[in-house]
């Protein structure tokens, strides 16, 4: 290739910068046109990119903090949970709509029933970008479980309960939040339906990062100020 050195130096600069990913899009485009016609620059670019790869691979090695892996795996589990829950909640919402269904088409403008809107809210929360899910497991032989879903920055949450037997006469289920300093704060009471399910709206009594645990107990109708019976379901934040 016969280049007048003065004019070709600029291409050589662009080639070097391109190999280091330092060109603006317009410059890169201009260079591409030149590369198509210049074997010298093509060869230089290939060599320079090889050198760039070696520079990149020579970064000084330091130890990654262990907390990254914990956060990564939690995120993976959240994704799994969210995915499975989206099905559960969608199915629940559809079921509720179907149950109210005889009238559905005739009352399109009517407001949703309380249980319908709670289920719809739960579905929306699960689908939200920044939603978090806490899994509550049975502490006894009970085959019940629950999930609490909240969205970062919001104090309201949805609790989806499955498999709890209907509360005994005069009793109700009650949720509790345990703070990191072990203070126990009373939250909402609820009843389950005939299938043992409930969708409950909750308000966090403190910012989510301050919460340590969420538990569910059975309490006398009207609720208690402190848990009076053993924990049925518990989840740790």
């Amino acid at each position: 290739m016969n280049h007048a050195t003065d004019t070709h130096t600029e291409w050589e600069e662009l080639v070097a910068l391109h190999a280091l990913e330092g060109l603006e899009p317009a410059e890169a485009q201009r260079l591409e046109q030149h590369l198509a016609t210049c074997a010298d620059c093509q060869a230089a670019l290939a060599d320079y990119q090889g050198i760039a790869g070696r520079i990149q691979a020579s970064v000084p090695l330091v130890q990654a903090p262990a907390s990254i892996e914990r956060r990564l795996l939690r995120r993976v589990q959240q994704q799994r949970l969210r995915r499975s829950l989206r099905w559960v909640a969608t199915a629940a919402a559809l079921l509720i709509l179907a149950l109210g269904g005889g009238y559905w088409w005739g009352r399109q403008t009517a407001p949703l029933s309380a249980s319908e809107s709670r289920a719809a809210t739960a579905v929306a929360r699960i689908g939200a970008e920044k939603s978090q899910i806490l899994q509550l497991s049975a502490t006894t032989g009970l085959s019940a479980s629950a999930r609490c879903i909240w969205v970062f920055g919001e104090s309201q949450a949805s609790l989806i309960v499955a498999g709890l037997p209907p509360a005994a006469a005069g009793q109700t289920y009650q949720t509790w939040f345990v703070l990191k300093d072990q203070t126990v704060l009373a939250s909402t009471t609820f009843q389950v339906d005939a299938t043992g399910a409930a969708v409950v709206q909750l308000v966090a009594p403190a910012p989510w990062p301050d919460l340590a645990q969420m538990i569910i107990t059975s309490e006398p109708q009207g609720g208690s100020l402190q848990p009076s019976t053993p924990t049925l379901l518990a989840g740790t934040f």
């Binding site: 070696r54 520079i55 090695l61």
Partner: protein, 172 residues
Amino acid sequence: MDDIQLLLQIATEDEGALREFYRRYANLVFSMALSVLQNHAIAEEVTQDVFWTIWRKAALYDADRGGVKTWLLTITRRRAIDYRRRLKPTDSIDDPTSGALPTSALQSSDIDLQQALAELPDEQQACVELIYLRGFKQHEVAEQLAVPLGTVKSRIRLALKRLRERLSPIAD
């Protein structure tokens, strides 16, 4: 299991494979992110983000375009540069003298490169690192080093020309 098999396992949502991949490359990814960002907290964020991307998009790896390690380093460097530009658009280069590649801390596996870099004038080394490893734009480097834009361009050209001569003596 080699890296590519591992990526295939990850693409099938095998969490154990993700853990193993993380175990192999977490330090490398974190080191690259830290190199770009010079900030531990954000480097942790980027590291988690890179492995999260691997988890969701392991299938995008294309063996024809280079080794897994190169692919990972490139993803990480670019992601870290994105973070830096997004989080601190007005951030200046903190200290031009720290911009020189810390040759003593470089991995010893590529001694030829290490030596060739060490022989470059400091100002050329600094320009290479600021553009490539820290993702600053040419004009940002020029402003920060208080030199004309043309000087930055020619330092980069001279640096790579010299490295090429030193590292591939067969090329003309």
